[in-house]
């Protein structure tokens, strides 16, 4: 089955019923890589704070392609305009070798171990052995052909954009400027967390989830499940349907922000009756696990209601196709989706704080990290249900689909969380991109 044909099989109008083959078709997935991850989209590669010094690098991924994010020299005259961050593909221009094998480190240049082709930090080819041949008497043996120009044989260089310390890259020349790509609806929520702040790196968690990559985006565009699947959220009032919330999206419906403000939790028949994950009598033995301290930056001017302010305790930002940014009370992280075929992805969590955090605040952020990640009180079950979803889809059946119609079939922003609108809006965009 060709992928083009398979997309035309999506005969239902709208985007509220996603065919199971959208998660399981291997050829369709190859087209997703080309059109989405290697197409005109900005993909997250890391945080500037991960490479603070000249020559610092780390490996990352755009789609399945491994890239190196590195801090290059910047000429004094360019310091106002050049952030110095380069992203190059980890593949030698000579024979295709993945030349960089360390996950992170510091380098003066990149040298491919196979034939010692040497690249500058910006990906330019600096030189290679025997380029001009080897002299034997009056003869010169071998060497690269006449007309071989170093300039033509650098590493694949990605375009790079840095916003408030977040580093994005794209293979495509057609990608619009990052700020336009993110759009004015989403930007205030990125500003709220990052603008003008120096980050500190707290560390990483990595998990391999046997499900299609889109399921992770859906999970964080789905405000319906947290108060049902996650006991901690419903019982302690961290996320549940009786909270003041807002669902925001960009004009294309591809990015989103789920915004909410915690309440006291406890019993409220409208959202707890019959909910088996709600534990009325649950109390922590050690309540330091939920020792929440409000932070001044939580409160911002409300972008939707000029002249008033808003103080969310949680914002979950999905930046299509591969980044999730989490603020849940004092816990902050980026979560990077690295697809590995249609049925698997790696999920890389980078936890961070701010450089002016007190040691107590750092400790608090680390403690609350127990809620998140592959072992988290609330996040571990997300990976599990994604695996079970993929298992269900794999059972196949032409014409079978999901049913995302909580709150109707439309794709509008809402002032509540009893809706699957953000999932529908993402698939609305996905359909457009994937239709030839």
């Amino acid at each position: 089955m060709m992928a083009d044909q398979s997309l035309s099989r999506w005969s239902e109008p709208g985007s509220s019923r996603v065919p199971f083959w959208a998660y399981t078709d291997a050829q369709l997935y190859q087209r997703e890589l080309e059109k989405i991850f290697y197409g005109p989209h900005w993909c997250y590669v890391g945080l500037e704070v991960e490479i603070p010094n000249l020559g610092d690098f780390k490996l990352s991924h755009v789609g399945e392609r491994q890239v190196v994010m590195v801090r290059d020299r910047v000429a004094p005259k360019d310091r106002g305009t050049d952030h110095g961050i380069r992203v190059v593909e980890n593949r030698c221009a000579h024979r295709g070798v993945r030349f960089c094998q360390n996950g992170q480190g510091n380098a003066r240049s990149f040298v491919c171990p196979y034939h010692q082709w040497t690249y500058k930090l910006n990906g330019d080819l600096a030189g290679l052995p025997f380029k001009d041949g080897v002299k034997e008497g009056d003869c010169i043996n071998g060497g690269m052909p006449e007309g071989f120009d170093l300039k033509d044989h650098g590493l694949t260089k990605l375009r790079v954009a840095v916003l408030h310390g977040l580093v994005f890259a794209t293979f495509s020349e057609a990608t619009e400027p990052l700020e336009d790509y993110l759009g004015p609806n989403v930007m205030p929520w990125l500003d709220r967390i990052f603008k003008g702040r120096q980050l500190t790196l707290l560390g990483y968690n990595r998990q391999r989830i046997p499900g299609n990559w889109k399921l992770m985006m859906e999970n964080i565009k789905d405000p319906y499940h947290p108060g049902l699947l996650h006991t901690w959220f419903v019982t302690f009032g961290l996320w549940r349907a009786d909270q003041k919330s807002r669902m925001v999206m960009d004009e294309h419906g591809r990015h989103a922000v789920m915004i909410s403000r915690r309440n006291e939790g406890g019993q409220n028949a409208a959202v707890t009756e019959g909910v088996t994950s709600f534990k009325a009598n649950m109390a922590l033995h050690d309540d330091r696990l939920l020792d929440v301290a409000p932070e001044a930056w939580w409160k911002v001017d409300d972008p939707s209601n000029p002249g008033t302010d808003i103080t969310p305790t949680v914002t979950m930002i999905t930046l299509f196709p591969s980044l999730i940014i989490q603020q849940q009370v004092n816990s902050l992280s980026t979560r990077h989706i690295v697809p590995r075929g249609e049925g698997e992805f790696d999920f890389v969590w980078t936890h961070f704080g701010f450089s002016d955090d007190t040691p107590e605040m750092t400790r608090r952020r680390l403690r609350q990290a127990n809620l998140f990640g592959p072992a988290g009180f609330v996040s571990a079950d997300d990976g599990e249900v994604i695996e079970f979803s993929q298992d269900g889809f794999r059972q196949g059946g032409e014409g079978r689909s999901t049913l995302c119609e909580l709150g109707g079939t439309g794709t509008e922003a809402t002032e509540h969380m009893v809706t699957e609108t953000l999932i529908r809006s993402m698939y609305g965009y996905w359909k457009k991109v994937m239709t030839p």
Partner: protein, 162 residues
């Protein structure tokens, strides 16, 4: 055999027995008994080697008291939805690093295999226990157990302590 050697052998035996009992409690899913291996203010941490080696403080699980461990046990048994699985621990003989009065520091390599219903057994989590053990009236207890794991990827989720 000198009495010092005998004492050393005895200590080796006790610590290996402690590790064997610890493994049995987890592998047999007797989770309520797991916090009892620790002091009241004992600490249990599971941390990726990449963070440990670079001095980054983030851990996969970081429990700072027996109370937090009980909260984790409640999570395992009552709140974290997950597919069921068995664990099987294989713990190598401990290497005793120092003995200072009642406090012993030791380390031991471990491998944990995971088996899901109708599934094959998988290598789940591989690493090293770095321990501070205290001799108390109730026997040896962990003041600190730090599990530094080599496994670069958690196989989806890690629900039970290792």
């Amino acid at each position: 055999m000198s009495s010092a050697t005998l004492e050393r052998l005895m200590l080796q035996f006790e610590i290996d027995q402690l590790n064997a009992a610890y493994a049995a409690v987890l592998d047999e899913k007797r989770f309520d008994a797991w916090p009892e291996f620790f002091l009241e203010d004992g600490r249990y941490t599971v941390q990726a080697r990449e963070n440990f080696d670079r001095g980054l403080p983030l851990a996969l699980m970081d429990l700072e008291s027996r109370g937090m461990m009980k909260d984790r046990v409640y999570g395992i048994t009552q709140t974290i939805y997950h597919g069921p699985y068995y664990m099987r621990h294989v713990i190598a003989p401990a290497q005793i690093l120092s003995v200072d009065g009642d406090v012993i520091t030791a380390q031991a390599n471990y491998a944990v295999f995971r088996t899901k219903p109708a599934g094959v057994s998988e290598v789940y989590n591989v690493g090293r226990y770095a321990d501070e053990i205290v001799r108390t009236g109730e026997g040896l207890k962990f003041r600190r157990r730090l599990c530094v794991y080599d496994s670069e990827m958690i196989l989806n989720s890690l629900i039970y302590p290792v």
